[in-house]
Subunit: 585 residues, 2 copies
């Protein structure tokens, strides 16, 4: 090694040792006869020290020429600092430099390599290799490494086998769009990149591998949002000879293990909530349960009193914001504007202030007496000082809008602390959901999810009412994982494909191998996949996954650093037997 | 769990326990009043036992209907066997069945699920999920998992960080062909799948990550040989602030750790051998050093005696096969035929038999006296009973042919035991090699490999003589890993691209980001990549990598099970803005 120690490890007990360090010049302070350099590497910062008259002149001169981010190799002696810095682990010592070598100079970096950099997003992405030098970004990737390690510790300990599944697979356009790869050896044919290893992990169960996992890259060619990436990583798991409870227990165990060993947090047992209950009480299939503020439905109390808006609504539903009764007109107007934003879509907001004196004031006093409002308040168990916020309209839309308002109130009231974690299993999802665009039923989870046996009789008459053996793990209002108990027999799988509008030929072309496999002794099985990027960002207390990925792409799917995608040569196109179409006018 | 125990864990100490097992029916023996079923899962086999009169009639009837590979759930009591089977861990006990459930029936599998199956290669690949049920294949994948685990244990212990690098990168056609992925969001542009994470790991060094690894999928669109796959896995590593010796020591440590913890073998320290020495003594840059049989050059002794074939040859070189002096005419003819095969390419084979009585007999007695031949034998330190085998001709071709003959003799003499392991570092590879097809110099390792400083002056005059800081790890004649100390400054990298025939624009388009990065404080760095599939097959004592990959592709790059590559829809092509060309007549 070019160094004897890292920049993070020397202490008072090392005083008088001769050491060699390597690293980057973080900053230089030149006080005339005295010169200090902060030398940085992945492990920390160590202060170097040179003194006119004591350090030899050429070394001192060289040191004075050093700019930010120069790569240095330094020999010297560990000495005790006169003025110690108790904010850094190496703050008790410094290195009296005897020799100095510039291993590589650096141009002035386009932004500062500091925790709070002056670099904008685009610049940081273009020079990602410099951005990765910054502590917060590096620490995110170290956290990610630790998460992967601990995931393996837990699953290896339970006899799971990590098996690598192929990346060059077959296009099966159900679900999101596939990325495809033209095959040179089979002209006119294509591989696809996996959206998940779903069918392969099921085949591994058919093979008897019984407990499988993989931390694996997956790919979806979707129009990107801020927190989506075309390639992303899953903790992908599957088990055979299990019930749904076994899966929930095993992977609740994983999440609790990660909290314990990565963050030192004892996560309590994870409650279960049905999809129906989540929608009713939170208007969301991924409720943030760090705070209560549950929905209460008011149809029985609020309808039939002449207030046309409520009377004509499918649902009248509200939340109680503790201690917000004294919100000003302006604050209440802002909340009204918030719910009326097109992406929220409510037509208006009704409020009831529960005054300190026990009286009530509402925006609908014209229609409702104090006695009426008192009954409403009773339903929420509201106390004097609380504020009721009520929306009405079509059931699903109103629930969704109130969910947004609830989350906003949670933010305003400081109830969504990033250092507090509330996990939840949402279970009993619907099997199917109606898609307005394609005018047919789609699988809510995926076509391999098994319906609940007791609901199967509804499949023809009320397909939307059939529940699936499907579950999501939700933490702080974010879906971090989801899975299901799978279909493991050919007739049910075939029925499912039929319900989803596959012709028999399509089903056979795309998934014939899986249905064949089900006929050779497929065991009951099920599994789950966690979004690893998302889980890491959640553990890191961040909103975006991007800084938990070493080399992310931007919202146009572009890597700004290496500048890809890019054109390829005509020779490559010819070998692949494809043409690029003329751009449309 | 549907089971209380696996099929591999019950012992005498469990006798009288009530248990529930699940698994596959391996075989049934029906002796009239007694019926046995071997129940198999990933963990082993447990014998089930039913008896007429004691087992209830419907259960017995059901048991009699069970075919191979049916999936069963069985309840019963552990009892001691009357006739024990000491060949299986559960051989002391059997299960007296009280209830039996068929979880899923099975069609008759297309081949037997036995260690030695009757299934041919194509059938096994098409029904890979059944092939994976066989012990040898499952054990290969379990070995692979253990190899990955122990690789991580070793590297994590040395502060390496696993960082995921992107899969959707940029096409850089130097080297093998890229697989490409059309970008829908950037019509006319393509991503490429990585042949290795080379540039990204170097950028991580520029970022200060200092010790990186990744067990990662890589992709090469090459015409496939039996032991190549279009997607394969590397243990990919890089270190900064190191010398070549540091890399060799660190990764020799990895290989020895794997031998120790996966196979229980103490591998001795790994010797170093220069490329020049390897070629001279073994005619190969990946010599099998499980046995000696080194080359000896005979030009000085064999030329000038009137034997035109030797006199006109650039190289006369031979090996000594211990104890083979009494090979018959037929055996010697077979060896001659072997070396004359087109893929070996020698014109003929000269032999010298060192007779037990101290005399010599050769195929060139006409030209050489007993005294001459004695001198030859002396050079090999040959003993009575040994056989010298000698080839001649152009240096490189003759070395390669003799290498093949040496390996063949090693096989014939049983010197290539799959349970014996000899590792070797081959170092000091040439930087460049001349490519006859493209009529230019190519990088022997890759364009990022640094030349030896002391050879740099030869770069213009004798480019073929410049050695690189490049090294391969060779085990039993197989290259299992290779790497180099990298260039870390822009001028040298630019010079290298120029030597390789890149225009400045090409170099900038493809690798500008890397050369830019070198200007912002790039540390000295280097690394290595191990072929993980190959390493696993070596540890497993197998020749082919295919059975160490869960779902491999055949030699046409096709996955026979899922039948990919395959056509995609016109809608998909349209969205991607590409056309498939008409097939050529």
């Amino acid at each position: 090694m070019l160094r004897t120690h890292t920049c993070g490890e020397l202490r008072l007990s090392d005083v008088n040792k001769s050491v060699t360090l390597t690293g980057w010049a973080q900053r230089t302070r030149d006080k005339g006869s005295l010169l200090w350099i902060d030398l940085r590497d992945r492990y920390g910062i160590t202060q170097l020290f040179l003194e006119e008259g004591k350090t030899d002149a050429p070394t001192l001169q060289l040191a004075r020429s050093i700019g930010r981010e120069y790569v240095l190799k330094v020999q010297g002696t560990v000495v005790e600092r006169l003025s110690k810095n108790d904010k850094m682990p190496t703050g008790d010592i410094e290195i009296k430099v005897s020799s100095l070598e510039v291993l590589n100079p650096s141009k002035v970096p386009p932004f500062t390599i500091e925790d709070n950099t002056d670099g904008g997003d685009d610049l940081r992405m273009k020079y990602r290799y410099l951005d990765l030098r910054r502590n917060p970004v590096r620490e995110n990737l170290q956290l990610r490494h630790k998460m992967a390690q601990q995931t393996r510790v837990y699953l290896d300990g339970l006899n799971f086998i990590e098996v690598e599944t192929p990346v060059l697979i077959k296009s099966t356009p159900e679900g999101a769009r596939d990325f495809v790869v033209p095959s040179r050896m089979n002209p006119g044919e294509f591989y696809a990149l996996p959206q998940s290893p779903q069918t392969f992990k099921q085949l591994l169960m058919v093979s008897g591998f019984d407990r499988y996992y993989q931390i694996v890259k997956c790919f979806r060619d979707e129009d990107l949002r801020a927190d989506r990436q075309p390639e992303f990583t899953q903790i992908d798991c599957e088990m055979a000879f299990i019930s749904q409870e076994d899966i929930l227990n095993t992977f609740e165990g994983l999440v609790r293990h990660l909290f314990k060993h990565v963050k030192g947090i004892d996560l309590p047992a994870v409650p279960h909530m049905s999809y129906a209950e989540a929608m009713k009480s939170y208007g969301s299939d991924k409720p943030d349960t760090r705070f209560e503020m549950k929905f209460e439905e008011l149809n029985d109390l609020a309808q039939g009193k002449g207030f046309q808006v409520f009377d004509s609504a499918e649902l009248v539903v509200g939340i109680c914001a503790k201690g917000c009764a004294e919100y000003t007109r302006k604050q209440l107007d802002e909340l009204t504007e918030f719910v009326k934003k097109p992406q929220i879509g409510a037509k208006g907001l009704v409020y009831v202030q529960c005054k300190a004196d026990g009286s009530f004031k509402s925006s609908v006093d014209k229609f409702y007496s104090g006695e009426d409002l008192k009954k409403w308040a009773g339903k929420f168990n509201a106390q004097p000082g609380d504020l009721l916020l009520i929306l009405s309209g079509e059931r699903t839309k109103t629930q969704k809008a109130l969910n947004e308002l609830r989350l906003k109130m949670g933010d305003l009231l400081g109830l969504r602390d990033k250092n507090k974690f509330a996990a939840l299993w949402v279970i009993d999802f619907p099997l199917l959901e109606w898609n307005e665009e394609t005018n047919r039923w789609h699988a809510m989870h995926h076509p391999f999810t098994s319906p609940k046996r007791e609901d199967l009789h509804l499949l023809d008459s009320q397909p939307g009412q059939v529940r699936a053996n499907a579950y999501d793990m939700v933490i702080n209002g974010t879906e971090v994982g989801g899975g299901s108990i799978r279909i493991h027999d050919r007739p049910t799988q075939q029925l499912m494909f039929t319900k989803l509008g596959f012709s028999e030929a399509e089903a056979k072309k795309q998934f014939g191998f899986l249905m064949d496999a089900f006929e050779f002794g497929a065991p009951p099985h099920g599994g789950i996949a966690f979004g690893f990027d998302r889980l890491c960002s959640l553990f890191g207390g961040a909103d975006s996954i991007r800084d938990f990925i070493a080399f992310p792409k931007n919202n146009a799917g572009r890597d700004m650093m290496i500048d890809t995608p890019s054109t390829i040569s005509q020779e490559q196109l010819d070998e692949l037997g494809i043409d690029v179409k003329e751009a449309k006018e």
